[in-house]
Symmetry: D2
Subunit: 343 residues, 4 copies
């Protein structure tokens, strides 16, 4: 059994991670950290954790205090900026690190300030990190100990887009990712704009053309093909969890929706967490993957406009964060990727 | 005071229409029809109408029964197919008709079966009808008595798109309208997929590339420029009312987001119901226009991808239906267009 | 036209008040105050006010700055504690004051610290104030200039309870008011427990037996009959607005549900804002009175248990706050009480 | 491994039951029935079941067709009336039956028509059935094969009330259970009143004093003490799942809130699914037990009014239905009651 530490255990992704790891047959949670709630037990903050065996009993400690506890792997749900500083000592001490923040996602140190507005705290460490959506990049994990877990939006965009780029189905012209997310994507914070009365019964666009997740999307798209003009527009949905991305892909000569569906179906045929809907099976809804680590996607052919649309859905807290983090760790360790994960 | 009849008064648009017309200084409601609830009073079905003077007292009658009541204008909220048959006798009797259904929106009788799956019941009448979003087409009303009130989605798409086409700012490549609507757009019906437990906490795409509102969008776009490849993708938001459309427009040579904003600002400068947000004023949310007849729009420049995005929001039941219907009637009569409408 | 000032215009009740007073035929808004947003225009904070004539143009000013503006009446939506201090100078200057805070609701200065945890800032002023639900207490307004507008919960409880006490229908044993409120009752604040992800899809009890609104309920009940054991239990509903109170009343000898309904029907027969449902008309829902100044109530006879239940609903922001405030001012001035109010 | 049949697998409780039993280490699902969807696979109706191993592959069959499949236990989620008829052949064939409908809950055949409006289809079978909330009645299971699984509301009411009655803490006067339920309690049906636009942003009372669940509550209360005047008032909350009951209990001489908390704490001290909150631990919310088989309860002392209030919360689909059904089966078989159940 691996001894596990969770940094930042009192945010939405931290709690999801704890719930998964508590039941993971190869994991034993050794510490849970929280700066604001150190000294308390998790059920005091989240009464719904009252029924947990392990999570209910481990006192929250500061990250600094946890540093003295020996663990085999650290999952960090700390905010970007803080996460790198807290993770690296564990890495240097020999532990595996799965970082859910953005701190290790961008290879080029110059990219970080562009999207996050400040210099990277430890740019020299970026070389050690590997950005990994397991279905697309699991080969990258070999020999690594520091995994940059992808952002929620990028997961919903790259899962359908990368295979189409690789297969040469994407033509000229902009690729547009119109994404819609539930409110938990903004984290567990007291912010007026996310209060019930402000967020409920409203749908809005935000950070169109400027969202920080574009950095990693562009990086990963450029890995496959340079110069793809990608548009990303996030929107806020009055629901707790879920992301739906409507991806508009210009078709290369000879490509069409049927070929797109075929390539996606083949790419993901053996993947337990990705389901490409058959032609007549309707379109996905976020509720279809809620509380699971799955991604569902469907293809719509738009031949008159020279496009295919791919609609993908994930649970932003699971496949978009904590579920994928555990999937990445499973892959890193050579466990079956589904181990401990809700199907 | 004009004597008014409302056909189909017990759907969501019918009730909104009744609430507006009850307070309209030039209108007096003479009848309200409902096939299913004939004989009842409206507050028995909608207890929230208990405080209404007129609406609370007029018994619902069948459309056939209402035909004998002399009115100056009929607003029809009947479903397509039924609406034309019910409206035309009033038109032939000399009344003005504002039809909120799709029955008179498509000029070409061949278009109707394509989008609505059956032949038009009275194709010879289509010539008399005029499709009108007042801010774009009010000149068309002159001398007419039959107004086809536009659909909710097309209103949110055409308001920003038509002025850009007219100004020559739209370049080659597909124009994409990614629209998101609250559940009331589906009407007041007992349908499992719209039940609370199915629709809540879920976001979904539906009828991508096949929604019937594409017919009228294409028609009106083609009026300005032929051959524009328009994509329309509707989505369902877990909220009651509101539509947000994210419109992706390829820029013609020399055009950019600033020019787009300028053209929209100039086009709508004197319009009481349309507000084009200045550059730094953020992005619209559906709640900003809820319970109003307004449309807010904002422009985002995407120069790297050769696009501009325009985000527009309306209340689907008001600017997208009943509010615009009254605005159309005001325009037809030469009243100030804001008369009786919630700003 | 009376010149009106609104203190605390950027909370939920302040905005509702502004929207009502802007259309009130006897009112002209002279100032709107906000400590946090002084210098800004209201639509910059609430884009949905973009269509307002007057509210959209008046710059927000600090309360101190507003003190120099001469007005005929001040409505205060400031928090308790701050409100008394801000209102009294206007009162002393001759203006009428309608205070929506709790500062003038309790006659006995000893009551205030019990429920609000600190001494009253100006206890000597309490004598001038009058607590008034117009349907119950409008006679109290004569000759007064300082009106304590009742709390939202007390309005929903006292409207049905006071007439039953007066009619001698209430027997021995506890009277229980089990109340349920939408989230806007907590005000417009960034508080984690009211964030979308925490408040949505959950129903909870809070402050059972200790809520501060009990002070004014007990005071007003004791005005009619001493020693009534009243229980009040508030709950939080995942919706924006509305209060439903289920009131359990032990029946005096000879009393029953029919008599309760009769007394309530007679009491409110001529009231434009209160509707007592007939026996077979079902039970009220908060949506029936949403966005209105109405109260609906229904009576259920529980003869086997010696009780009657009365279910009452109001919109907490209107009949429970800003609507009733304007109704109170209308009554104070001798205007029809419905003037300017949404029916 | 027991071979399991699920009758009525396409309602909300049926699906929850399937999800639990699929992971239950002692269960193997042998059939799933649905009259309306026979021939289809479950994921065609519930795409979120796509990741299930077993549930995703078993074709739905009619109840009649399933009768030929040999099973060891049948769980029935059929509606009352239909359920008894479908269950009894399996019982007679030797299988255990856990019936989630109301058909076997009332011992006295005369009670059934009073609450369900028609004669019981098989009154002679009632003797064989046992009504069982495991924490209260597990001794009743000995030697039985037909378990009437309690209703959702009664579970939330009886869990706190029965121990207080047994301990003699309940005094004279009415006991009031004011309950609030999410919309899934009404089942998976296309009904206008449960559509999103009707149920959202509204809170309502319904069936006050007449709800059919009173029959079983009264029966079980009378088992402990005759003549207790019990009031039950259900309300509808705009959320999917969860019940909160606020129970007002008149105190017997010498009893008070501390004693009530003590008795409940002792009663449930060893129960894995029931948690009695300590005095200072706040009040429960339905989200605290959502997606779990737990019940949380808290006690508030109301000494001035001679009452104690107990607030209890459950997930109506789990502890209020399918979770408790599996708990009952575990108890019947002598398995640990937590086996296969989400803590």
């Amino acid at each position: 059994m691996a001894r596990i530490g969770i940094l930042g255990a009192t945010g939405y992704t931290g709690v999801e991670l704890g719930l998964i790891l508590e039941r993971h047959p190869e994991a034993e949670i050794a510490f849970v950290s929280s700066e604001a709630s150190a000294g308390q037990l998790l059920p005091a903050i989240f009464p719904r954790l009252a029924g947990c065996r392990k999570l209910a009993e481990l006192p929250l400690r500061t990250a600094a205090d946890c540093a003295s506890t020996s663990v085999d792997v650290v999952f960090s749900c700390l905010p970007h900026g803080a996460s790198a500083e807290a993770c690296l000592p564990f890495l240097e001490g020999g532990a595996e690190v799965i970082d859910l923040s953005a701190d290790f996602r961008l290879h080029d140190p110059a990219d970080y300030p562009r999207w996050y507005g400040k210099p990277h705290p430890r740019p020299e460490s970026l070389d050690q990190a590997v950005y990994c959506i397991p279905e697309l990049h699991r080969d990258r994990l070999r020999g690594r100990k520091l995994v940059a877990n992808p952002g929620c939006y990028p997961t919903s965009v790259l899962l359908p887009l990368v295979p189409l780029l690789k297969a040469g189905l994407v033509g000229e012209g902009p690729v547009i990712a119109d994404s819609k997310s539930g409110v938990s994507g903004a984290g567990r914070k007291a912010v007026l704009s996310n209060s019930f009365c402000e967020a409920n019964e409203s749908f809005s666009a935000y950070k169109v053309g400027s969202h920080q997740h574009q950095g990693e999307m562009r990086q990963e798209v450029a890995e496959v093909r340079a110069g793809v003009p990608l548009v990303f527009t996030p929107h806020l949905v009055p629901m707790e969890r879920g992301i739906l991305t409507t991806l508009y892909v210009p078709m290369a000569a000879g490509a069409d929706g049927d070929r797109v569906r075929e390539v996606l179906s083949e790419t993901f045929a053996l993947e337990p967490f990705v389901r490409v809907l058959p032609k007549a099976a309707g379109l996905p809804a976020t509720a279809h993957v809620s509380h699971s680590n799955r991604c569902h996607m469907a293809v719509v052919d738009l031949p008159e406009q020279g496009l295919s649309a791919v609609v993908s859905v994930i649970d932003n807290l699971l496949k978009g964060a904590s579920g994928q983090a555990v999937q990445n760790w499973n892959a890193l360790r050579g466990f079956p990727e589904i181990l401990g994960l809700p199907a």
